[in-house]
Amino acid sequence: MATATTPNFLEVNRRTFLRMSGAAAGGLFLSLHLAEPGHARQTPKAQAYPPAAFIHVRSDGKIVIQVNRLEFGQGVQTALPMLLADEMDADWSQVIAELAPAADVYSDPIAGIQMVGGSGSIAHSFEQYRQLGASARAMLIAAAAAQWNVMPEQCRTEASVVYGPNSQSAKYGELAESAAKLPVPESVQLKKESELHLSGKNTRRLDSRGKCNGSQKFGLDVDLPGMKVALVAHPPVFGARVKSFNADAARAISGVRDVFEMPLVRGTGVAVVADRFWAAKQARDRLQAEWNTASVEHPDTAQLFSKYRELARTAGNIAMTRGSAASMDSIPSSKRILAEYEFPFLAHTPMEPLNTTVRFDSSGAEVWAGSQFQTFDQMAVAEVLGLKAEQVTFHTEMAGGGFGRRAVADSHVQREAATIAKRLPGIPVKLIWTREDDVQGGYYRPMFVHRVDVGIGADGMPIAWRHVIVGQSLVAGTPFAARLIKDGVDATAVEGVADTAYAIQNFYVSAHHPEINVPVLWWRSVGHTHTAFVMETLIDELAMRAKTDPIAYRLKLLSPDAKKLRACLTLLREKTASWRDSATGNRAVGVASHESFGTGVACAVEVSVENKRPKIHRAVIAVDPGFAVNPLSIESQMQGGVTFGMTQVMPKGAITLKDGRVEQRNWDGYTPPYINDAPVTVEVHIVPSSEKPTGCGEPPVPVISPAIVNALSRLTGKRYRSLPLAEI
């Protein structure tokens, strides 16, 4: 989501300051408030729930930390508390991490809204959580020092205990109430890297046990007294409206409570509300609905590709120019590569199907959802229900994956849930999107066509590059458009090309963004899903033509300031030296490297062809995310990210449309990688660094597909320019 080059995409950047929230509920609450007119000087009341604070030091010694963004696998629910606990010298075994509900105070300090995306959790909240921890520690020390009549400087802390100069000691839990009466320090000194004892160390996840024994509740597991389950019949073509429907058979199902037509973000649908999922599902299956599809565009993959290919032959809106665009024309065709690439729509299909529970009554509403965009989703529910956002209590539920699918600017799932709940005041309603709804429901990574003309110099390096990108804008019509669309170019479509780290003298990139009747959305690593594939396969082709080692070629072409990629490639070369050049027979090695969201990644894979498919025997990753907050988690993000990225090379890794209708229904037709498809081993090496940390959720995704096909090209001599990958 969002690009590294435009972190503050909503132009909101409020100064934040710490504030203590009193001790009314027992213990120390430490909060952080946004300096906003009319907002800043309120004296917040401490509440146990919804929490008014980031830290609650309970009198029993437990330290409850609110995590200001969704946990959906990326490990932020462990990493942010690690940073805080480290500065606080909290006993890690006593830390409880909770997902904060929607509230202004929990906004991303850079983005200005409460959200997770753009691999920004650690990058944006690194300082914030450390400051919170350091402030809490200072207050606990001050409380102890006052009690012992000593100077704070004479005290030290360790594992949730303050020690005084004369063998005094007091546990944080004992000091919490008196600490809460003290002022929050104006400024605090953060630890030096050498003083950190948690950050930088392999730390297992806090949420592991509950996820291993079945006790972890996800959004779909929300269960409330009297709750109903709702499914919606969506139009077969995006934006179509219900012409008529016969609900007799649906209503005849035992347990069905209501069937009604309802407005959707696009078109209209029919809601089915029942006591249980199975009754709702059977009823929806029996619903006889006629749709008026004539008035909406019927997108068709084959026709779209043909239209996109035509568009790619003409220059689009200019995304980047450097040097002379015309320099290409003087290069003979023998020294040129003309390459055309095609990428299909991709669905995210997180394991946990989309869902939202809403309860609405005269006093307000309550929402339970695994949301990447709490701020927008809360506002959307409020709008549908005619409430103010603050009348909507929004619980952030643990989510079973997301990959961008829970970061939807139009909040269409929450709007559907609220629309249904509005009709049933006082009754909690859980809206479930079945897997079929999800696969067929749009919000895909857009289709793209790239057309690239490369001119090669005498030394085998590219000297001219003309690149046209065709694909829908992700942000047109959303609150992100103002920031991310410039001169008709959506930054999320050209990131990874326009800002390439390769120093190419004459460089010209343009883009077309056709408007198509298919809702589109960021897919883990956003534009880099396709741009890195194009760049890294072309660079590899150039290296092969130049008969140069692919790592050496890249190092030679990288601009001098591409420090992270240089470090990654150098580390990769070192870690693969023992086997990279010795792969023989039916195995070959492919390399790719790419920087996204501020993090550099280089990847080598050893591949053979088995049953006409690539078999990945091993993958080695070198990553430079700056300071590595939790190396164990970074390793898992790299391992998982490359597997997620392989979705696009799977034989059924595409969503296609025919005459307006999505041709796949479930994971039988749109099939991501299973254990047999994934690399057997993924070895991860982290570049040692003390630089400011950057994110790791998305950066592994872009490199794997080009690395795989680069290996295949070495085995077969062919180039692979269309995804998904056909039989080898």
Partner: protein, 154 residues
Amino acid sequence: METFKLTVNCQQKDVTVDPSTPLLWVLREDLKMSGTKYGCGIAACGACTVHVGGVPTRSCVLPISLVGERPVVTIEAMSNDTIGRVVEEAWESEDVVQCGYCQSGQIMSAVALLKATPKPTDKDIEESMGGNLCRCGTYVRIRQAIKAAARQLG
């Protein structure tokens, strides 16, 4: 609606539901055991895997009327199962989970594998775990955890 007598995690349960209701939804909605997950409804992802009569089974496509007298065992019972506990501990020790949504099913498949094959090879793992989808891509650590559990049980 019809009443069925089930044995779930060694306990007798009576449920009155439509006979076509998949075991998954009986577990989740009638018995309030939400550890077993809905992912696809067509036996394509394995998130709903439970043991029925000792066999790993996709509960999303097994109508309650076909369970019969076979005992049903779910993720909720694994902490008290000799092999289940070791597998859960290996999962924690290897820090396998990410979003965690598929892991109940992964663990149920892994326990069934280790009950039948105490020393599984990579090929055994691929065959037994091949139908359990993980979108986070935790497969590398799943392999490691199964091997670690096998060593522990050895």
